[in-house]
């Protein structure tokens, strides 16, 4: 008869050690940035006043959010589409099993690393000096950000594909490009779409942050209202953004499910 082996005992020392380590790290980090609980408690009345002034949300302000909100979405869409397309060759060349050669692979990997290391705000500043502050600079910055996100994730899933089909294309006399198109990409397509949707979600959020520094859209409105102490409007904007982000995530989730 088959008897399941007894359940192994919990490793308490390891568990407690890990917990202690995490608590220690948090305390140490908080100390490092000058976080203090007493100070926070002393400032509570100020926070309370801020909360009072922020309620109720100013619903009359809602219609004026439409245009800037759409601008935010447009910036995110352009960034996702442009970046998503450019990410394809970059991801393919960064996949060890598909790349054209060690030199190309190495150069491409490093290019990706540079894109990923620099934050989207940096790219926004760069493009702002080139094309001026505004939605165009924002869209360009998000394109770079999207390339970084998709190429990193997708090159890794491409490395995990079954090389049988690409070999079959080669065996039929196909070129390298045809091997990629007919042998590799069909296997990676599902992941690609899923990463592109994920990048879009990130881009909607990032697009708002870029708005804070002048790239237009909802982020810019948020910043103006905050600077004018219009806290009830600020609450309204945050609520609207919250709902919008939830809706977008829901839609992209359902598309992803349908693909699976």
């Amino acid at each position: 008869m088959n008897v399941a082996p007894p359940r192994p005992a919990r490793n308490w020392p390891l568990l407690l050690g890990t917990l202690g380590f995490l608590v220690g790290m948090t305390w140490w980090s908080g100390h490092g940035i000058g976080f203090s609980l007493t100070e926070l408690l002393c400032n509570l009345p100020g926070g309370q006043r801020l909360l009072q002034e922020s309620w109720p949300p100013d619903f009359a302000f809602l219609p004026r959010l439409y245009a800037p909100f759409m601008e935010t979405i447009y910036i995110a869409i352009i960034g996702t589409v442009v970046g998503g397309i450019l990410a394809i060759p970059i991801a393919v060349l960064a996949a060890r099993n598909l790349t054209l050669g060690p030199i190309v692979w190495f150069a491409d990997r490093n290019f990706m690393n540079i894109l990923r290391t620099l934050p989207d705000l940096f790219w926004a500043m760069m493009f702002a000096t080139a094309v001026g502050f505004g939605p165009v600079a924002g869209a360009l910055a998000l394109s770079v950000f999207t390339i970084a996100v998709i190429s990193k994730l997708w090159s890794e899933s491409l490395e995990a594909i079954d090389m049988g089909m690409p070999e079959a294309v080669r065996a039929a006399g196909g070129t390298w490009l045809q091997m990629i198109q007919f042998g590799a990409i069909p296997q990676g397509l599902q992941h690609y779409v899923s990463y592109a949707l994920y990048a879009f979600e990130l881009n909607v959020r990032a697009s708002m942050v870029l708005g804070l520094v002048g790239a237009g859209g909802i982020g810019m409105i948020l910043e103006t209202q905050r600077a004018n102490f219009e806290y009830e409007r600020v609450t309204m904007i945050i609520l609207a953004v919250l709902v919008a982000v939830l809706v977008i995530e829901q839609i992209s989730e359902s598309i992803r499910k349908r693909l699976a």
């Binding site: 294309v169 065996a171 039929a172």
Partner: protein
């Protein structure tokens, strides 16, 4: 039909893999156009190595392979693609794009025949679509042309694999254990298809098999490999159990035959 179509010649050919494994050793072999050759040998004997040398998927470490008198190029490039265009390959695991239709899969066999941009944008010339359809006809599954490959049975998928090879209008077909993932009934159907296509079109056909009874039943000529060396080359009609013992280096068991009744004779 061109008399010089589909001949293969190995001359002192050897393959040593980077890790030192010998895949092929001093092979001298000539295969005439239109032959139906079955290659047998135990696992690791070098059957796949032999087939894959013919279309340049494996490189030789010494010696040469020629197809119709032209050496198989040993590096990637146009010349190798030109050769591969004339050599169809069939795989144990079918190697289809599951999410695409049967037709799209068969058209992959036409990639080397059309301008790159046409294939890229799925703008296949009518002639090539016709060739693909004819290939499906040849294996009897035209009605599945617009079905996704994922929805086919194993036997049907292998037929698509055969159709893709036929769509190349090849001089040679290489089949690497084409029936190893199929049940016995389907196995016989696929083997019969391969034999029939060989007879009808005169395409030189090389099939790797590991079932002895199948080799004897369907082979015209049998080639036996052991540790990368040619140890048997003769007609299937004359091959004896003794020969098989030599090829395998041991008595064979029911694992070596598809139909178990064939053992113990």
């Amino acid at each position: 039909m061109n008399k010089n179509q589909g001949s293969i010649r190995f001359t002192d050919a050897s393959v040593v893999y980077p890790n030192g494994t010998v895949g092929m050793k001093d092979l001298n072999l000539e295969i005439r156009p239109g032959e139906f050759v079955v290659i047998v040998g135990s696992s690791g004997a070098g059957k796949s190595t032999l087939l894959r040398a013919i279309n340049g998927l494996n490189r030789m470490t010494s010696g040469t392979v020629e197809v119709d008198g032209t050496k198989v190029p040993q590096k990637d490039g146009r010349e190798l693609r030109v050769l591969r265009k004339r050599v169809g390959m069939i795989f144990q695991d079918f190697r289809l794009v599951k999410r695409l239709t049967v037709m799209s899969n068969v058209l992959i066999g036409r990639l080397a025949h059309v301008p790159g941009w046409r294939a890229m944008f799925n703008l296949w010339p009518a002639h090539d679509r016709e060739v693909a359809m004819k290939a499906l006809e040849r294996v009897g599954i035209t009605e599945k042309a617009w079905v996704k490959a994922a929805q086919l049975s194993g036997g049907q998928q292998q037929r698509v694999g055969i159709a893709r090879a036929l769509a190349q209008e090849p001089a040679i077909i290489l089949a690497d254990e084409p029936v190893a993932s199929l049940d016995p009934v389907t196995t016989h159907q696929i083997m019969k298809d391969l034999v029939r296509i060989n007879r009808e079109l005169g395409i030189t056909t090389l099939v790797n098999l590991h079932f002895l009874d199948l080799a004897k039943q369907y082979g015209q000529r049998i080639i036996g490999l052991r540790f990368g060396e040619l140890v048997y080359d003769g007609s299937a009609a004359n091959v004896t159990d003794e020969d098989f013992r030599d090829i395998y280096g041991r008595d064979f068991t029911e694992d070596d035959v598809l139909d178990e009744d064939a053992v113990g004779g």
